[in-house]
């Protein structure tokens, strides 16, 4: 059973790391700001989400596992809000539309 959990962790954490890599490469290579924002949010949510899901079986208590998922939910909510703000900043330059 524990081998299965270890396999789960290895697969998910490496998938999360791959998404971090993809997001960073996208952040560096994409031509304009909005496409970079798209790549960034992928790395943010998916990379961290897979790492967190991979870590859940490694953590002893259930409460700590719930706290791990809470970190991911907080990052998803704050990442979504900040991504909208960045997009507005990019679209309207420094002054928002009247």
């Amino acid at each position: 059973m524990s081998a299965l959990l270890d396999l789960w962790t290895v697969v998910l954490v490496s998938a999360g790391a791959v998404f971090y890599l993809a997001g960073t490469v996208g952040l560096l290579r994409f031509p304009d700001a909005l496409t970079r924002l798209h790549a960034l949010t992928k790395a943010d949510n998916l990379g961290l989400g897979l790492v967190v899901l991979g870590l859940v079986p490694q953590v002893g208590g259930v409460i700590i596992g719930i706290k791990l998922v809470a970190v991911w939910l907080l990052v998803m909510v704050s990442g979504a809000c900040v991504a909208q703000l960045i997009a507005r900043l990019v679209r309207h330059g420094s002054d928002p539309a009247p």
Partner: protein, 91 residues
């Protein structure tokens, strides 16, 4: 298993460090903010991985506060750059 998690943490750190190049090169301040956001999320993943490897649940609270602060950084910059113009034409 601990070695694998530490290796994954080092890999994510390396990837985020490479992502910081966008901070130097970024034409606009939005690009720089994106690099900071990626650094924040990457360090959250790093803190979680190291927290699980060192089996100390306190680090998960560190990751929670880090997630909060990363959001504040983004909001602060957007707020600062949209109020640069004179305040008379604010709705």
């Amino acid at each position: 298993m601990a070695e694998f998690l530490t290796g994954a943490a080092c890999f994510i750190l390396l990837v985020v460090a490479v992502g910081l190049v966008r901070l130097l090169r970024g034409p606009g301040d939005a690009d720089r903010l994106m690099a900071v956001q990626l650094l924040g999320t990457g360090s959250i993943a790093l803190v979680l991985l190291i927290g699980v490897v060192s089996a100390s649940p306190a680090l998960i609270d560190v990751a929670l506060t880090l997630a909060l602060l990363a959001a504040f950084a983004g909001v602060a910059l957007v707020r600062a750059s949209t109020t640069r113009r004179p305040p008379d034409n604010s709705q």
